[in-house]
């Protein structure tokens, strides 16, 4: 009886559902809610893809690529640099309109945006822009940037990435704090609705300079539970879904009908930072023991060959300056045990680690925990929710910190944030140096002002060697991004890399 009633109701709903003429793209994301969609504040995985739909830079990463080499013009039509590499002049595209009624994009907006990106009060990426001496509008369609020193990847700073996204000056000034939830850019889509804990809705920008987008609307849904997201995708409620970075997930979804799974760069490097200022890790031998007890290959294979690779250095692979052949510690349990014994811990040693309850990170840490156990190292996890984790590891409370991150693809940024003594947690200038590492300050500093690219690379290589020798951190594995889509969705380009951690939906993207 009840069954029939339910069936009847379901049928009723099916017939009542209105046929929609709009093309709506439903995207499912693994997050409870949005973080920050102000482009100069957006640092979380769930925020970055969205920013790429709304904004442009002077240049852009080719859609579907994460490589600094594949830059193409975006808001700028052309650019030239002076002989000394310090002065850059950009010619802007004319007639580009901001979303809504915020008018035409001019050099003023570009100057405002880059200055905004360089101000720690309005930007999370201010440090990257400290290198800019002056930014000025020569005329309404020309911008000149003068650098304090030539840098290897200036185009990266003015690309559609982090601080390089161009916002509307008028809108930013008029909306004030509200700009955080209603940012205004020039991109193919504009944000029209935000439902807390539920979804963000974007509408096509009819005035987009590359043409009217073929998709009318994007609904970006926050679905934190893995299972619910997967189920929603298989039942057809989602067209694009954030995949689990996990071999089995990839294999399972490749078998789903009408489904395309894409595994893309950049890789997030997972590192176990060892607190060199805390017992028992203050003893280098104990740190070496940890390094020898970690089986990187097994970790990567646990994560899956399609989605993860063993780490190559203490900096992610493929970055400008990464030593792809750095000498890391071998997996050697006997040596690990011997080192522990030598350090006065014949019966093993206990290390306290504060760990997030976030499933993917926790799972990897549990594998590492099981590996270390074999060498007599008891990694005692104190699992807290993700925000407490972030707060506590920054208070220098954890012996070992598991951290996974991708940064701007130049070694400099990663080295400075994770291994330079100025970034040591607990100090006023702290960023994410959890290990109190100070082994390579000189090389890191020298490299960032070195003009000769060859010498610069050499300095970065030495820095990595010193950090590895000091065992500030044990690199574990690198994890690629995984996305799945229905075969009715065509991004309009080959999706191989996602500097924005997700697919860029462009004016050419379609859904049948």
């Amino acid at each position: 009886m009840k069954r029939h009633l339910l069936a009847a109701t379901a049928l009723l709903f099916a017939t009542l559902a209105p046929a929609s003429a709009e093309t709506i793209l439903n995207v499912g994301m693994a997050a409870a809610d949005v973080g920050q969609i102000d482009p100069h504040r957006a640092t979380s995985t769930q925020d970055k893809p969205v920013v790429s739909w709304m904004f442009n830079g002077l240049v852009r990463f080719k859609p579907g690529s994460a490589s600094l080499e594949a830059m193409e013009p975006d808001l700028a039509e052309s650019w030239e640099k002076s002989a000394d590499g310090k002065t850059w002049t950009f010619k802007l595209r004319k007639g580009v309109k901001f979303h809504g009624d915020w008018g035409e994009m001019t050099a003023d907006d570009v100057v405002y945006s880059l200055k905004r990106a360089g101000d720690p009060k309005t930007s999370s990426f201010a440090a990257d822009y400290a290198v800019m001496e002056t930014i000025e509008a020569v005329d309404p369609s020309t911008v000149r940037i003068v650098l304090k020193k030539p840098i290897p990847a200036l185009l990266g700073l003015v690309a559609n990435y982090h601080g390089g996204n161009i916002v509307s000056k008028k809108a930013a000034e008029a909306l004030g704090a509200d700009f955080r939830t209603k940012p205004v850019g020039t991109g193919p889509f504009q944000v029209v609705d935000y439902k807390s804990n539920e979804s963000l809705t974007f509408a096509a920008n009819p005035a987009y300079f590359r043409g009217v987008p073929k998709i009318d609307k994007i609904v970006y849904r926050f679905i934190p539970a893995d299972a619910a997201r997967d189920l929603a995708f298989t039942s057809g409620e989602l067209d694009v879904v954030y995949g689990r970075q996990d071999q089995r997930w990839v294999e399972r979804f490749q078998k789903e009908p009408h489904t395309v799974v894409e595994v893309v760069k950049p890789a997030e490097l997972s590192v176990l930072h060892l607190n060199t200022a805390m017992k028992p890790l203050d003893d280098k031998r104990v740190r070496e023991a940890v390094a020898h007890a970690i089986d990187r290959a097994q970790l990567a294979s646990f994560k899956g060959a399609t989605t993860a690779v063993p780490a190559v250095s203490v900096v992610p692979t493929g970055y400008l300056g990464t030593d792809e052949k750095a000498k890391l510690y071998d997996y050697d349990l006997a040596k690990a045990k011997a080192l522990l014994k030598e350090a006065g811990h014949p019966d093993g040693v206990a290390i306290k680690a504060i760990q997030t309850s976030l499933p993917t990170m926790l799972a990897s840490m549990q594998v590492a925990q099981a590996q270390l156990k074999k060498a007599g190292i008891d990694l005692q996890l104190e699992v807290v929710d993700h925000q407490s984790f972030h707060a506590q590891i920054r208070k220098d409370l954890s012996g070992a910190v598991y951290y996974a991150a991708a940064r701007f693809p130049v070694a400099d940024v990663y080295l400075k944030q994770f291994y330079h003594s100025a970034a040591t947690v607990g100090t006023p200038t702290a960023v994410t140096n959890f290990s109190h590492c100070a082994a390579a300050d000189a090389e890191i500093d020298a490299a960032s002002i070195e003009v000769d690219p060859v010498k610069q690379k050499e300095l970065w290589k030495t820095a990595q060697k010193k950090i590895i020798d000091e065992v500030c951190a044990v690199p574990l594995f690198e994890q690629l991004q995984v996305w799945a889509r229905k075969d009715t969705v065509d991004y309009g380009y080959k999706f191989e890399g996602a500097i924005h951690l997700g697919p860029v939906i462009t004016e050419a993207s379609t859904k049948k």
Partner: protein, 313 residues
């Protein structure tokens, strides 16, 4: 009577004040830091300290308390630390979902629970009685997340009758209803159990009373006796049990909202807690506590209306 009402309302004031203070204090001692959510994980310690200052988190606790009480008295819940949106807006955005779900599950509770209880009482120890007992046993025994997962597997994944994501994409009535069925069944299950039990025992008592016996001896139809004479007696206990378990309902709503991916106050509380969005968290706690205080008052008043012997404690 009016004096009773007024007295009951006045009594609620100190409770509300204490509730607000408790919320404020509890929220302040939750460890963590909202600045990382706002600034991102690459922010320096200095930038975070500056933001803390700006958000008023560096103020002395007493000053924060005064601000908080001042805001509440003017009906303002402040702004979310994470999104800077007025909390009243956030609450207004999810409250309809929560109210919708609560009412729907109460209806499920009443529509299934009352007939089941009445039926059971009439065939004491018979089939109906056993069935009702088993059903209500299941209702009180299922943790909300377990029943939610089962419903999800059966009706959304296997049979595909209802969506997996119970958040309506449009405001169309059909979508809203489709998104409501499974969550309200899940949440209503517990209500069914309580309502069945209360109805059953109330009916048993009423059917054993002299007046129903008299009615029966007068030859009135069983149906008339049951519904006209006995049934009205169980209404008050049913209302009471509903009021009493509203808190449990709100708690279970969290799980229901999580598993079915449905927006609502409960899920928002968990998010606010995870993001250390203190102002949002305290705003939501105030709202949910307020709802329970009001429900308690209403329950008491219903008592008072029906039973004139009830005096204020």
């Amino acid at each position: 009577m009016i004096r009773f009402v007024i007295k009951r309302l006045l009594l609620a004031i100190p409770t509300l004040w204490a509730v607000l203070t408790t919320v404020f204090l509890l929220v302040r001692v939750v460890p963590g830091d909202p600045t990382i959510v706002i600034l991102g994980d690459q922010a320096s310690a200095a930038a975070r300290a500056e933001l803390r200052e700006k958000l008023g988190l560096a103020k002395p606790i007493l000053a924060q308390y005064v601000d908080f009480m001042g805001q509440i008295l003017t009906g303002d819940l402040g702004r979310s630390l994470a999104t800077n949106r007025p909390i009243v807006d956030d609450v207004a955005a999810v409250l309809p979902y929560t109210i919708e779900l609560t009412i729907a599950s109460l209806i499920v509770g009443a529509v299934i629970g009352i007939p089941l209880g009445v039926w059971a009482a009439q065939s004491r120890d018979g089939f109906a009685d056993w069935f009702a007992r088993l059903f209500s046993l299941a209702g009180v025994s299922f943790p909300a997340f377990v029943s939610a997962i089962l419903l999800l597997i059966v009706f959304a994944v296997e049979l595909r009758w209802f969506p997996v994501i119970s958040a309506p994409r449009t405001d169309a009535l059909s979508e809203r209803l489709a998104a409501l069925v499974l969550p309200s069944l899940n949440l209503g299950l517990l209500m069914v159990a309580y309502v069945t039990r209360v109805t059953r025992s109330g009916m048993l008592k009423a059917l054993g009373e002299d007046y129903t016996r008299t009615a029966r001896s007068k030859g009135l139809a069983q149906r008339t006796i049951v519904w006209r004479h006995a049934f009205p007696n169980v209404l008050v206990p049913v209302v009471t049990v509903v009021g009493l378990y509203l808190g449990v309902l709100i708690g279970n709503a969290v799980l229901t909202e999580i598993v079915f991916n449905r927006p609502g106050i409960g899920k928002l509380i968990v998010t606010a807690l995870n993001q250390r969005d203190y102002t949002l968290l305290q705003g939501l706690m105030v709202v949910s506590a307020f709802a329970i205080v009001v429900a308690n008052i209403l329950t008491d008043l219903t008592y008072g209306l029906v039973d004139p012997r009830v005096k204020t404690p």
